[in-house]
Amino acid sequence: MRLLVRHRLRRTRREGYVERSEILEADSIRIGRGSDSELHLTDGRVLLHHATISLENSALVVTADPPAEIEHDGIVVAQAELTPGHIIAIGPYDITCGEIEDGCDAVIGVELARPMGDAESALRERVRTPLLGRRRSGWKIGGAIALVLLLLGVGLPLSTFIQSPSPEVVSGNTDTDQDILRMAETLWVTERLSRVHDNLEAGCQACHVAPFAAVTEATCLECHNTLTAHIDPHASFGADVNMEDGCASCHQEHIGPDGILPGVAVTETGCIACHNGDIDPGDGRSLAKVASIAEHPPFTLPTPPDSGLKFSHASHLVPQGKRGPDGARQKLGCVDCHQSVNAGADMTLPSFESGCRSCHTLAFAAEDPNRRLPHGSVWKVQGEVEDFYAAVERGDIVAPKTEAPPRRRRPGQSAAPRSFAPPEPVPAAQRAAAALSGPAVKGQCATCHVLDEGTQVADWDIAPVDAVHTWLSSAHFSHKDHEGEAGCASCHAVGKSEKVSDVAMPSMGTCLDCHGSAADFPEVDSTCVSCHAFHGTVGQGASVDAPQWFTDTAGMGKTENSAYQVLANILKNTRF
């Protein structure tokens, strides 16, 4: 068989093909991808031996070589006769029958009708690998982000630091631009300022006066210029006492709203570091050992002086009450005599006028029950009494008339009044002297006062009166902070006190019932500075009983010289 094969390579613009012709001569022609096939088709979908063409009775017959399949007009067949107008498909190739030409037994056309390229490229278009596509890198976008962050995080805040604060910023009259700068400044803030420094209008530069320099205590003392020092700058300290940072040794800023006020940290390290019983501050005093709040030493109360008074809390606080001037009984409480002052912080010692007079009226004469003795001076009392009886004698004061009882007569006698001679009038001076040395005056004074006999006009005088006005000299205590349901008696046991010399101050143990254990009463502030102030204030003396050097260093912040001198001395004389 001599077969002319027209390989149709591609279509022309008209209805033709660009063709390559090939003449094959064999009895039967094998079709396949294998190199031993006479009709060699290269597409991968064609098997090595796919089919065989043979001439049978002048008809072209195509037979599939199993397992290959061929299709005749779209139907899978094992064998098909190739006739004009029909197509046999072998893999992607279409085989058609052509017009027989001279010198050939048959002519066929072979066309790669279903090229792989289209299907493959169509599929490739569906393969999406955005993360693999180009050699992507994060350097560009990362670099851009980093630049922006550097500008925002370094440039902006630094620019606000380098320029000096404008007057608007300092006064708080910030416009929008300044607001942005203030916000930029706060970018670097580690933790918010303490509440007491909220008023620092100049922003960071109020304290951080120069960039790249630590805040010095001189800056602190510009505002805190009335403080006095606590520690003797000439004393030597134990190894644990580190005052290297000046104010910041105890007062740390940027550690939260309450941070600036030293709390537990100072209690347990700062105060106790010196108040440990070992340290001699060098001024002759020794610092009491306070190992912890719970082991606080007892109060050292002042010895009460000779008061010159007689007073019994017990007899005033009897449960049935005391009879007042009007005769009615009234039950007395603490606040009937002791008034609250200083916004509730302190309670007064009662004065006579505010505490005693309402019951002890000091009325002294029947002629005028409303006439009362003055209080405070025996001389005044004497003058008052003498004036009074002189006035009575002159008739300026007339005793209120009392109704005379109905007269009775004996049987047989007339009811006419008998005439009595009026009693001989007693001279006023005599009556006054009698009153002054009698129960009307002396007796009333002696109810409360110790009397010195044989000194004054009436042969007696009031003994000097003295009292302790401040029991706790080294600590501050506010009654207001302690008022509660427990009442005064929970601390001041005066219910059985008969004498003025009885001390009604509670013991340290009473304080420690609540302040001793932070675990039992977490809401109770129990640090050293809860009761003891550390710094003194110029003009008011120091809270702790002031040794001489307090006055030496008072107002140390007022001039730069003294402030630096004090702190420099502290540092110089400190052995760390």
Binding site: G44, R45, E71, G74, I75, V76, A89, P92, R114, M116, A119, E120, A122, L123, R124, R126, V127, R128, T129, P130, L131, L132, R136, S137, G138, W139, I141, G142, G143, I145, A146, L147, L149, L150, L152, G153, V154, P157, L158, F161, L187, W188, V189, T190, E191, H208, P211, F212, A213, A214, V215, N242, E244, D245, A248, H254, F576
Partner: protein, 278 residues
């Protein structure tokens, strides 16, 4: 003679030289942190603030320099593998150094941001280490000796075969095959990093089986779909693994630069407030 391994990766480079270095660094600083009560407070503040902060910054700059060093493969000191080994283990050391520097406290400000950014950067790096340790071998075994293009080509061939087969199928089966051919998708973006989409070819095959038609064409179509499903599953796994190996770096690099910028802002801020004042 002991058989030296033909290849020791960056993980075991020079008998874990950089593992020991990092461990020593972390252990030493951890010990100081643990016993800080025995040292003066101001010394500790300086050591953990400025000292450790400066050290961590130096480590970060060294890690960032790896990005430059790896682009000049043959130039520069040391072997690139050593650089990578140091990069990995010093990076892991940062996971400890930064919290020690920050006192284990993350605050909602620029300082906390620096802390978090550094940690996240290192964590993305750890993903990179994991991906580069496991995936190259698995990508190779998944391909079974073929290239990616080979696999795509095979899918295309199967598609053509299916298309040719379609007219001989029943109407319902034809619909299934056509829909599958039209709907097939390979690959994906960020989503594919986490989840591989359902294999449509597998689903189509299951549908075809449910039709219950048993003739040669249907059996063949079902076989073709099974082969296609297998190929597509392998392609998806391949793309997923290789995308992961790229994606972590797309996070790692910008994050590391951002972290470096914020750390510098944090450090400059601390210095502006004055050495020793905070």
């Amino acid at each position: 003679m002991s058989a030296a391994p033909l290849h020791d990766g960056f993980m075991v480079h020079r008998r874990f030289r950089y593992v020991w270095l990092s461990l020593l660094l972390v252990a030493g600083i951890g010990a100081v942190f643990h016993y800080q009560d025995r040292l003066p407070t101001n010394v500790i503040d300086l050591a953990f603030g400025y000292g450790l902060g400066g050290l961590a910054l130096a480590v970060m700059l060294l890690l960032a320099w790896f990005g430059v060093r790896k682009r000049s493969y043959s130039k520069g000191a040391g072997r690139l593998k050593g650089w990578l080994s140091a990069h990995v283990y010093l990076g892991i050391a940062l996971l400890f150094l930064v919290p020690l520097h920050g006192g284990f406290e993350i605050t909602p400000d620029i300082h906390g941001l620096a802390y978090v950014l550094v940690l996240i950067t290192v964590l993305t790096g750890l993903f990179g280490v994991a991906f580069y340790s496991f995936y190259p071998r698995r990508v190779a075994s998944n391909r079974e000796g073929l290239t990616f293009d080979d696999m795509v080509k095979r899918v295309a061939e199967i598609d053509l075969e299916l298309r040719a087969l379609a007219p001989r199928l029943s109407e319902a089966a034809n619909d299934i095959v056509q829909a599958e051919a039209a709907g097939v998708r390979i690959g994906g973006g960020v989503g594919l990093l986490f989840l591989r989409p359902l294999n449509r070819s597998n689903r189509a095959r299951a549908k075809l089986l449910r039709l219950g038609v048993e003739d040669e064409s249907h059996t063949r179509a079902e076989g073709l779909l099974a082969r296609k499903a297998t190929l597509i599953a392998r392609l998806q796994r391949d793309i997923q693994m290789r995308s992961r190996m790229r994606a972590w770096l797309l996070l790692h690099v910008p994050l590391s630069l951002a972290a470096l910028a914020i750390v510098i802002a944090h450090g400059v801020g601390m210095l502006v407030f004055g050495f020793g004042s905070v």
